[in-house]
């Protein structure tokens, strides 16, 4: 069900970022499933039934969507391998992993290969858009580019990343957004491509809440806290902080809200705890995204709150029956 809900956003991602996204899916899914099967076999577990639970497939899909479309194949492969082997199975497999496997895999490659992790192509409709199949294939799998191109000419910074680098060079938000060089990228609410991808993940998330697949508290808490803190800083200093709408619909916000933060295994499980957990991710994501050294802060925020989840659960136990009067 979660996988079905991902489909619209994933299709939008492919539309705007091209073949690279598809390659990511192919690599992540095959590496994740193979790793899962191999480890289950090593652990003498029921391979067939466990693979069918879909958890490894979901991890693969999340990684494929999170890793830049023009990242070399080995980046995706390492992230997938690490997510399943270390973050999931070394902790005891499904249900026992304290951290979201996809996010751990993402963080590993983000820290190890920061350059490759910025390689998003220009979205469709900006400059020449994303590279054709052959160019993308040669680059992702073979590391080869046509003679006329450099990697910088086919890739382009994401809106969040670009604003941050520009701010560091003392160009304020309005200046960057109005810059002719980038104006195509910043069309609409939060950047070409990104806003649609985010909107479709939002739609997928609504569908899951309606169907009772995920708990509504975590996404609501996350979005409220992110929008609140973003709005707060935007009001204080409009020139140097993007609007709340921009934050809500850029980067991995919606993917995180409905598909990552809601992973029940690593999230808080008490009703009150889920509010705290979601809100914590919102605040941390904003802080890391705005002032941290990485293009986006979602993954770090999620993993940090994963660490806090057991503590939150412990202190947010609901009042047991008969305990209301005390």
């Amino acid at each position: 069900m979660v996988l079905y809900a991902l489909i619209p956003g994933a299709l939008a991602s492919m539309y705007f970022f091209g073949w690279g996204v598809l390659f990511n899916f192919v690599i992540a899914i095959s590496v994740c499933l193979l790793t899962e099967a191999a480890i289950l076999k090593l652990r003498q577990r029921d391979v067939y039934h466990t693979l069918l639970d879909g958890s490894a497939l979901l991890t693969a899909c999340l990684l494929a969507l999170a890793i830049p479309a023009l990242a070399p194949w080995w980046v995706t492969a390492i992230a997938s391998l690490f997510a399943i082997a270390v973050a999931k199975h070394l902790y005891g497999g499904l249900g026992f992993n304290p951290f979201n496997p996809a996010m751990v895999g993402y963080i590993v490659v983000m820290i190890s290969f920061p350059l490759e992790m910025t390689l998003w192509p220009a979205p469709a409709g900006v400059n020449e858009g994303w590279p054709d199949f052959l160019t993308a294939f040669n680059w992702v799998f073979l590391g080869a580019l046509p003679v006329s191109e450099t990697i910088d000419s086919i890739s382009m910074a994401t809106p969040i990343d670009l604003l941050k680098t520009q701010l560091n060079q003392f160009h304020d938000i309005a200046e960057t957004r109005n810059n002719v060089k980038y104006s195509d990228l910043f069309s609409g609410l939060s950047g070409t491509g990104w806003q649609w991808v985010n909107l479709l993940f939002l739609a997928g998330g609504m569908f899951m809440i309606r169907k009772g697949v995920i708990d509504w508290r975590i996404p609501v808490a996350f979005l409220i806290s992110l929008i609140f803190i973003a709005n707060l800083f935007a009001v204080i200093d409009y020139a140097n902080n993007s609007s709340a709408i921009f934050h809500a619909f850029s980067g991995g916000t919606m993917l995180c809200a409905f598909f990552i933060a809601t992973d029940p295994v690593t999230a808080s499980t008490t009703p009150r705890g889920r509010w705290i957990y979601g809100a914590g991710i919102g605040v941390l994501a904003y802080i890391i995204r705005s002032w941290g050294g990485y293009p986006d802060g979602i993954a770090f925020a999620v993993v940090l709150m994963n660490i806090a989840a057991p503590l939150i659960d412990y202190y947010t136990q609901p009042k047991v029956f008969g305990n209301t009067e005390h």
Partner: protein
């Protein structure tokens, strides 16, 4: 006296957290009248059919017993008597399979029926119970061996405290699927249930009696309402409650009716409420009007594994096999025998077990229903949290129960779990959660017992040690005193000796002197 709720009638019913809407499967067994089962030739009476201490047998093999004769007496306050369901001979007292969740054998009295149906001498109180004191009625109920027939089998007279309680709730919710024994009882014997309620009300001096029935039993509601109207005293009122499992749980029902929660670790009496099952009220009516102890009950025999599902009135101690035969026997694909309902019942490994006071239902499943699913890991989805009527965190309890973390289990209120089974029912990973909790509870009780007994033996040892030391000290003290005494004595006698000798010498000297002088004067003369 605390008034529970002055106007229950006007107040809307309260809800409780969680719960499940389940398919009832009640029509399977409630469409026919209660069938009274013919007597068997042998009866097996377990000595432990209640919560509390096992009863003490009063008979021995070879004894002739009469119908209604007490076979075993309660061992202490929380315990219940058991009686002979027929007249006959005690053939044996030995360990036998009993329908208990532990699956262990227990001591049973075997009676061979002589089919004479000879009763003990009975002196029913009848309508005169109004003249009886509370304690006199409590004694009748206690001597009749009456326990809660909803399944918990807590001795009824113990629940009826000395205190006056405001409200009596008769529990006719019967929320668990498949079970219809209370349903048919209310349909057929409504007036008798009300008489029982009136007797209990008299014992606790209740102001009102609320009869709670789930709205999936319209015929029972109709019959009970007719009886209430006929009664006309205004003491009784019917409350139709929504069908939501486990609304028949005592604490859940009290919440629904009064809007108040029984405080954690306390009893309904704290809210001035007493709650009894309708079948218990019926048994109390039999005890008071006919001096008939609890020797029979209505049992639902149902499920697709039995040919003619129905309710039967059975003498306690009847082998289950005979009951199933009475209902047409097993179907071909009959699979599992469960005592109780699908939610809280437990599987029995033999139909040679006797029907006990707790046996409200025998559920026979067929193979297609008892497909055992493979248990998957907990993904902490929290669906169990949503349905838990005790507002617990089942996923955390599961985690700590599997890691045997007693401290954390207690912090997460393991003992507030009523084992209703809602969590296991909704679990997408098919984890038998209640089994984990039950096991954890039993282990903790075991530990506490062991700790208690080791504490006692430690205390005993320490006291022994102290006593030894004291004895030693006392002995030494005594010895020392004796020695001192001896020493003083010799000293004194020595001193006396000396003085005595000197005195004697002086005396002798004086005497000699006197003689000398005498002699002198004599010679001078």
């Amino acid at each position: 006296m605390k008034q529970t709720k002055a106007h229950i009638a006007e107040k809307d019913l309260a809800g409780f957290h969680g719960g499940l809407k389940l398919a009832g499967h009640k029509q399977l067994s409630n469409s026919t009248a209660i069938s009274i089962m013919q007597q068997s030739s042998e009866y097996i009476i377990p000595l432990q059919q209640h919560i509390g201490a096992i009863s003490l047998p009063l008979v021995k093999p070879g004894d002739r017993v009469l119908k209604g004769q007490m076979l075993a007496k309660p061992d202490n306050l929380v315990s219940a008597a058991v009686h002979s369901p027929v007249s006959g001979v005690v053939t044996d007292i030995k360990q036998h399979d009993v329908p208990h969740v532990s699956g262990l054998d227990d001591l049973c009295i075997f009676i061979e029926n002589d089919f004479k149906d000879e009763w003990i001498k009975r002196e029913p109180v009848g309508d005169d119970y109004n003249q009886c004191t509370s304690s006199c009625l409590r004694k009748i109920i206690r001597d009749a061996g009456i326990v809660g027939l909803g399944g918990a089998t807590f001795p009824s007279s113990v629940k009826q405290t000395e205190m006056h309680l405001d409200t009596l709730i008769l529990n006719g919710a019967e929320c668990e699927p498949y079970i219809t024994c209370d349903d048919v009882l209310m349909r057929e014997r409504a007036e008798e249930i009300l008489s029982g309620g009136d007797i209990i009300g008299h014992v606790i001096k209740a102001r009102q009696c609320v009869i709670a029935i789930e709205d999936n039993k319209p015929e029972a509601i109709k019959a009970m309402q007719a009886a209430v109207d006929k009664d006309g005293t205004g003491f009784f009122q019917i409350k139709v409650i929504p069908t939501l499992y486990p609304s028949g749980g005592e604490k859940q029902l009290i919440k629904i009716i009064t809007g108040e929660e029984v405080p954690k670790g306390r009893y309904p009496a704290d809210l001035s409420v007493l709650c009894h099952n309708v079948a218990t009220a019926y048994a109390i009516y039999r005890a008071v009007y006919f001096a008939e102890p609890l020797i029979s009950r209505i049992v639902t025999i149902t499920g697709h594994g039995v040919k003619q599902p129905q309710n039967i009135e059975v003498l306690i101690g009847t082998p289950m096999k005979a009951c199933i035969q009475h209902c047409g026997g097993y179907t071909e694909d009959s699979d599992e025998l469960i005592m109780g309902g699908p939610m809280m019942g437990f599987s029995l490994n033999s139909d040679a077990m006797p029907v006990a006071k707790a046996s409200n239902c025998l559920l026979l499943t067929v193979k297609s229903e008892t497909r055992h699913k493979q248990q998957m890991p907990c993904i902490r989805c929290g669906r169990c949290v949503e349905v838990c009527p005790a507002n617990l965190l089942p996923q955390q309890l599961y985690w700590y129960a599997s890691s045997h973390n007693t401290d954390r289990l207690l912090e997460h209120n393991l003992f507030d779990c009523i084992e209703c089974g809602c969590c296991a029912y909704v679990c997408p990973s098919d984890i038998p959660l209640v089994q984990y909790y039950h096991h954890a509870k039993t282990t903790i009780w075991q530990q506490q017992r062991e700790r208690k007994s080791s504490d006692i033996s430690r205390l005993r040892h320490e006291a022994h040690q102290l006593r030894l030391e004291k004895q030693k000290r006392d002995r030494e003290e005594k010895l020392r005193k004796k020695r001192e005494l001896l020493k003083n004595k010799t000293k004194i006698s020595n001193a006396e000796d000396k003085a005595g000798k000197q005195a004697a010498i002086a005396e002798a000297l004086a005497r000699a002197q006197a003689k000398k002088e005498q002699h002198k004067t004599k010679t001078e003369k």
